[in-house]
């Protein structure tokens, strides 16, 4: 099945898949890079974004409102999470953070299951992005094409916030040395809350923009979380450009392997992660010396 048309199709498909992974991973990596918290609830936040958006869509029938609701709701959840629980865990060992965030992911999934059942929920794509587009070498769902643009814009906005604004400067300084930033009179803890909110929002936004592609169910966060972690490890933990690079690499590995044998696509992803860990433990774009 390796012919030019299929190769080009899979190459392109890998790009779209990778863009999505990049967007979800960016939230995870910002939170880790700034706060040192490995947030295992990140997948659940992705799922919550999908559900919040679906609920908003049910009432408003507006895709734009659904996206806004999904992103904002999860941002609020993130801020509350940080204020009520996570902030007490900054000084605790890593395993405590892992356990508490893992616990939260189960709580979120079960709450959603309790209120909405296990049947999956989907938001239809906006009408202008419905149907399929003939790209010459393949036909492709129009919404997935649009998704590529939507994600590119979202990542640019995130980049702009992180690298071109004062808030972003503080965040990046906080990543390097939070004590120094604190001593400059900047309330580093407020920034931390905001960072957690932004990271969560990236997950929530991903969830709602993805739900026309993959209907959301209470467990939707589980499998995406694993892939997200692989992306972050490949790209470099804590690195925003790393998340994008890692996402694109992961997307291409999954897609291109499936041309040869689809059953191996996830295995190859893990092989790639292992190779990166062996030869470049900090990831392709991870910063040196972070402890």
């Amino acid at each position: 099945m390796i012919n030019t048309a299929n190769f080009l199709s899979q190459l392109f498909n890998g790009l779209v898949l990778g863009a999505l992974l990049a967007l979800i991973s960016s939230g995870l990596t910002i939170i880790y890079g700034t706060l040192g918290v490995l947030n295992l609830a990140h997948g659940a936040l992705f799922m919550l974004g999908g559900y919040a958006g679906w609920l908003a869509f049910e009432y408003s029938h507006s895709f734009i409102l659904a996206v806004a609701a999904g992103a904002l709701f999860v941002m609020i959840v993130g801020v509350i999470m940080e204020q009520v629980i996570i902030k007490h865990f900054y000084a605790r060992p890593d395993e405590d953070q892992l356990l508490v965030t893992f616990g939260l992911s189960i709580v979120f999934a079960e709450l959603v299951r309790y209120f909405f059942g296990s049947l999956s929920k989907k938001v239809p794509p906006p009408e202008i992005f419905g149907g399929i587009t003939n790209m010459g070498f393949m036909v492709y769902p129009t919404y997935r094409l649009a998704l590529l643009g939507i994600i590119a814009v979202a990542l640019l906005v995130l980049y702009w916030v992180l690298y071109r604004t004062r808030i972003g400067m503080i965040v990046r300084a906080g990543i390097e040395d939070s004590v120094a930033v604190d001593s400059l009179g900047i309330n580093v803890y407020k920034v931390f809350t905001l960072v957690f909110g932004i990271g969560a929002m990236a997950a929530g936004f991903s969830g709602i923009v993805y739900s026309p592609v993959v209907a959301m169910s209470p467990d939707s966060g589980d499998s995406i979380l694993v892939q997200t972690f692989v992306v972050v490890v490949i790209g470099g933990v804590g690195s925003f450009p790393g998340a994008i690079l890692g996402g694109l690499i992961a997307g291409e590995i999954i897609s291109l392997t499936s041309m040869v044998n689809p059953a191996y696509s996830m295995i190859m992803l893990f092989v790639a992660m292992t190779l990166v860990l062996v030869f470049r433990p900090r990831g392709l774009m991870g910063s040196i010396g972070r402890t």
Binding site: S118, P141, V213, D219, S220, P262
Partner: protein, 449 residues
């Protein structure tokens, strides 16, 4: 559970022996009881402890989370209804198991259940706990054949009866069959032989099909069976087989391969949410309706979840569809009492859970004993017994129920008489005609004790 603590157990057993010894002089019945104590020594994990209280416990491990969560919840509801009907002498249960009398063999029946997440190790862990803590005398449940196969082996080792729930692998009553395991539902080979002729008749010979297969025993055996039938009988060609892990969410890379394969048919063997998502995405990619979608092993709730714009016109093989109530009075009783209790019409998982328990209750009460070999031998008489869809029987050679396979076709929205009228039953295929010979998949049942 305090009623199973050893002091109670011992006193109960002593009391039984004393009364049996005393009664033996006077009545023949006493002699029988005495003989039971002599001939049926301790066996496996829960005999005789599990049958000594006022209540017998059954354990269900069903997926309530993960890819098969929706189907597992439905299955569990069917089981719960069966237990309620056993304990209250409901007329449907009396029709299926006439000797049920406010319970079985003088004891109330209680169901314990927990989430298996469709993972074999979790199902075993849950069942092990039920055995240790509650001395369950029978186990039920699976919506994944990898669970059913693992549970089969566990049941044989622990000498506790096991009834597979939904399990589509040929191996469950084939090469992985056991003396202590039974299956009420149909499976891949039966599905292939039932739906195959309809596909060939409807669409002609020498067609090209793409398969989508979940990567475990159910997927591989079902794909093999369906492909074998279509190849041999219709000259069809499998142009690609896209194998994906359980719990896949984004099927785009598989669908991209299929789009480039030249297939005319998309035979989707995926199940549960995997099937819903892959079918939805196949439509997004424009593969449906360009290719004809076939679900050889139908997925409960797929029409509700994926929408009739995907399911209309497609063919699927199933165990049960509720509109069969028009033809079978017992099916009507079942659908009515289920609908009344749970607010929706039961799908195939619920029917499977209900009937499996009803058949267990029948065997236990007909045998008049909880001693596992007695119950198994009752089952192995292979008697013709009622189900919701007419008479069926279990084959003694492999413990597979010979039962009809229902072929359905998805309705269009305009033809639906109510919001659950998703499928039209187009044929009821006689199970005996589509089942393979008992030894075709290498079944060797193993020991009674």
């Amino acid at each position: 559970m305090s009623k199973f603590e050893s002091t109670n157990g011992v006193s109960r057993r002593s009391a039984l022996q004393i009364s049996a010894a005393g009664g033996m002089m006077a009545t023949g019945l006493g002699g029988v009881q005495w003989a039971m104590a002599q001939d049926k020594p301790k066996l496996g994990a829960t005999w005789p402890e599990g049958s000594q209280g006022d209540t017998v416990y059954l354990g269900a491990a069903v997926p309530l989370t993960g890819t098969y969560a929706v189907q597992g919840a439905d299955e569990l509801k069917g089981m719960e209804l069966a237990i309620e009907h056993i304990n209250t002498n409901h007329e449907l249960m009396k029709a299926l198991a006439p000797k049920v009398n406010s319970g079985v063999n003088g004891k109330k029946v209680k169901l314990l259940s927990a989430d298996s997440a469709a993972k074999p190790n979790q199902a075993l862990q849950v069942s092990q706990t039920f055995i240790a803590q509650n001395k369950i005398i029978a186990m039920i449940g699976s919506t994944s054949s990898s669970v059913a196969v693992a549970m089969n082996k566990f049941a044989q080792r622990e000498k506790v009866l096991y009834m597979a729930g939904i399990s589509g692998s040929n191996d469950t009553t084939g090469k992985d069959c056991v003396r202590y395991g039974f299956r009420q539902g149909f499976y891949g080979e039966m599905a292939a032989n039932a739906i195959g002729p309809i596909l060939v008749k409807q669409f002609g010979k020498n067609r090209k099909a793409a398969f989508m297969t979940p990567d475990y025993t159910y997927g591989h055996t079902t794909t093999e069976s369906v492909n074998n039938y279509l190849t041999k009988e219709g000259g069809w060609k499998m142009v690609t087989n896209q194998v994906s892990p359980l719990g896949t969410q984004d099927f785009s890379q598989y669908l991209t391969n299929i789009a480039n394969s030249g297939a005319e048919f998309l035979i989707n063997v995926n199940w549960g949410r995997d099937a819903v998502l892959s079918s939805q995405q196949a439509k997004q990619f424009g593969l449906i309706p360009k290719m004809t979608l076939v679900l050889p092993y139908q997925i409960p709730f797929i029409a509700k979840e994926a929408g009739v714009d995907i399911t209309h016109g497609i063919y699927a093989a199933t165990d049960f569809w509720w509109t069969l109530e028009d033809k079978y009075p017992l099916a009507k009783l079942f659908v009515e009492s289920f609908h009344k209790k749970y607010g929706y019409r039961p799908e195939w998982g619920a029917e499977n859970g209900y009937v499996s328990f009803a058949h267990w209750a029948r065997m236990v009460t007909e045998a008049g004993s909880f001693y596992p070999p007695d119950v198994i031998k009752q089952w192995e008489k292979g008697e013709t017994i009622p189900s919701l869809l007419g008479d069926v029987h279990y084959r003694p050679e492999d413990h597979q129920c010979v039962r009809p396979v229902i072929i359905v076709r998805g309705k269009e929205k305009k033809d639906m008489k109510n919001d659950e009228d998703f499928w039209e039953v187009i044929e009821m295929v006689d199970g005996a005609k589509v089942i393979q010979k008992p030894d075709a998949f290498g079944c060797k049942l193993g020991d009674y004790t």
